[in-house]
């Protein structure tokens, strides 16, 4: 059902809700389009101001029910570089509980002739909900729903990996940390499977491993050394320390001791291993500070690629046939 919702009868992307069920061809098309935007940017240098006025006259609303600056900013930048009008709305959960339902919020904004909603919400399934209820022609772009999906993060992760290691069929990728609460982990796993990664692993202590995750096509490791043995890419997940302590893990210190990526541990991995993290990082928890900005880290590249990838998605959904 999810792929029917996001892909139109003509095979074009209508909404982007999840990586699950996204055809490989479409995924590659997004990455190629993003490559095009990223290349333009590089050619012009950091101060270039070239716009691709594909979305001129279109209105994009960033509708965030969860606090976010980084993700929202990259969506805003992406829409502006495509010459769209952008409105940012940070809606607190409390204002929607005062009588106005989520549906009311959607319909009210829709009445203002919005072409695309970029939505982040703490409830899994929120993006599907909006897509089911959106008027025809109004697109929904999922910027993160609960623990379910964060498809543009997965796309920019794939984009970053592909730049360094273009042949996914040879790749062994380890996702390390709190997969239980992570929409990034789920979306990355789907994307890696779609692109045919040879070996996808999840490395985490048992309380942070969601039951049945192996059905998504990952091998589960509860121990870091075995989990990282021979991998080409390490994707570290953010540990949400405030909700972890006591209930899931004894301490951040103990997590770092057993699962943190240190310089010493990094030295035992393949010399060309990529270290990734969706940010924001917890220094000294899932990663040591100097590893985060060390030579194997592509964490800042990920951030930079976020704009190009989001431009590509917006252009494919709203632009004239790409």
């Amino acid at each position: 059902m999810s792929d029917n919702l996001q892909i139109g009868r003509d095979g074009r992307l209508r909404h982007l809700l999840t990586m699950e069920g996204l055809p490989r061809k479409l995924l590659l098309q997004i990455l190629d389009q993003a490559e095009h935007y990223a290349a333009d940017r590089r050619a012009e240098g950091a101060h270039g101001d070239k716009k691709h006025p594909l979305l001129h006259g279109k209105t994009v609303v960033n509708l965030f029910f969860e606090a976010s600056t980084r993700t929202r900013t990259t969506f805003e930048l992406a829409a502006k570089r495509l010459a769209a009008d952008v409105i940012n709305l940070q809606v607190s959960a409390s204002s929607t509980s005062k009588g106005e339902t989520l549906l009311d919020t959607l319909k009210t904004l829709e009445a203002m002739q919005v072409d695309m909603f970029v939505i982040r919400h703490e409830a899994s399934g929120a993006a599907h909900f909006f897509a089911q209820h959106a008027a025809p022609g109004v697109a929904i772009l999922n910027a993160g729903d609960g623990r379910h999906a964060h498809p543009t993060q997965a796309l920019l992760d794939m984009f970053t990996i592909r730049r360094h290691k273009p042949d996914f069929s040879k790749l062994s990728v380890a996702i390390v940390g709190d997969a239980l609460h992570s929409r990034v982990a789920r979306s990355d796993i789907h994307a890696l499977r779609i692109l045919g990664a040879k070996d996808v692993r999840l490395v985490a202590p048992r309380p942070l491993v969601p039951t049945g995750i192996e059905h998504l096509g990952v091998k589960v490791f509860n121990e870091l050394e075995a989990g990282l043995d021979g991998v080409d890419v390490v994707i570290l997940l953010r540990l949400q320390t405030e909700r972890m302590l006591g209930a899931f893990l004894p301490s951040t210190g103990e997590f770092h001791r057993d699962f943190g990526l240190t310089r010493e541990r990094l030295a035992r991995l393949k010399p060309d291993v990529l270290v990734m993290h969706p940010g924001p990082i917890n220094r000294g928890v899932e990663i040591e500070g100097d590893v985060a900005y060390g030579e194997r880290s592509v964490i800042l590249e990920q951030v930079a690629h976020g704009v190009a990838v989001r431009m590509a998605v917006m252009a494919m959904i709203l632009g004239e046939a790409a």
């Binding site: 699950e20 409830a123 899994s124 399934g125 599907h128 623990r147 379910h148 039951t211 049945g212 059905h215």
Partner: protein, 418 residues
Amino acid sequence: MSVLIKNARILDPAAGTDAVGCLGLRKGHIDYRGIRAPKAAYDEVIEAKGLWLMPGIIDLCARMREPGHTQKATMRSEARAALAAGITAVCLPPDTRPVIDNTAVVNRVNRIAKAAAGTYVYMLGALTKGLEGQALSEMSALKQAGCVGVGNGLAPVANTLIARRALEYASSLGITVHVVPLDPSLANGGCAHEGAVATRLGLTSIPVSAETVAMRQWISLVEDTGARIHFGRLSSARGVELLQSAQRRGLPVTADVAAHQLFLTDADLEGFNAMAHVIPPLRQAQDRDALRAALKSGVIGAICSDHQPHEADAKINPFPLTEPGISALETLLPLSLRLVQDGVLTPLQAVARLSLAPARVLGIERGSLAAGVAADLVLVDPSAAWKLNPADLLSRGRNTPFAGADFKGRALRTWLGA
């Protein structure tokens, strides 16, 4: 008004009989039963060849939403929907607003039910005051006022000492304690069965152990006290095993299952289908199959609707924010008939699970078709083919995961005995 029903297939689980015959009712009582038609005259004669005649359905758990939640439904709307669906008696859990924890509320619910003039309404009293799990309710007074059992709804009794004393107290009064087994810490506010589907959809999950931990705890207390317990809405194969082992050891433990648990699984949540959001959650195919097998063997004695009608808005939200529950009165009989069509139950077994068994759980004199008893009857057309259109439901709640489903069989006419 007197009625003679001729040549029906009479399914009487109390007598263990399944045979074609005639049945007469007069002044709300069954006054004749035999193979041939009686000589006496009746106001109305119904030729019922090919139809089933069974005792009225007794639904062990239906929320009529009144008092307290009339934006969802009213006693009037639901009591009439029940009657049209062949349900002649329902049992309300105590979680109305206000809670049924004193005789004034019992009397008020009785008044509302009487005015609604639909199905007969029984109710459970609260096990603890305000369902808060802290202090015992006045169970003796509640029983006196007409409560047919006590329970704590979906609210936990966190303190096991209070739970044990409540069991002792109820048992000394001869009252059955109804328990929906769901450990609150393990359930942890989840909205789906813990498994691959919930993981993929990112839904907070409820493990099977939420059910089994609670069951083990209550069974341990039954071992101590000998109190009679009825487990409502079982959802798992492991729960069935625990129930069976307790019964084998001679413990006074019975159980029911909601009809939807016999057909749906967590796969029905696909696409964030809020209509399949229920508590306890839909589990997996092997759980559904174990529930069906236990129903056939009689380990699970009764099927109930677990009716929870909602206003449309309650389901218009992202899945985790929707309210759980199904508007289920009008699918209780059709789904039970589907069990017969699927070869899970014989017609007589299905009828027993819907009428006699729940009557025994509640300790009420219903569920029989013997001459002389109150005539709670349903005439069923077992072969009528129809498609469920939510707009056609008589219940105010249109929240059903069976929209568009094809059914065979439905209630044609219901009589309420005197």
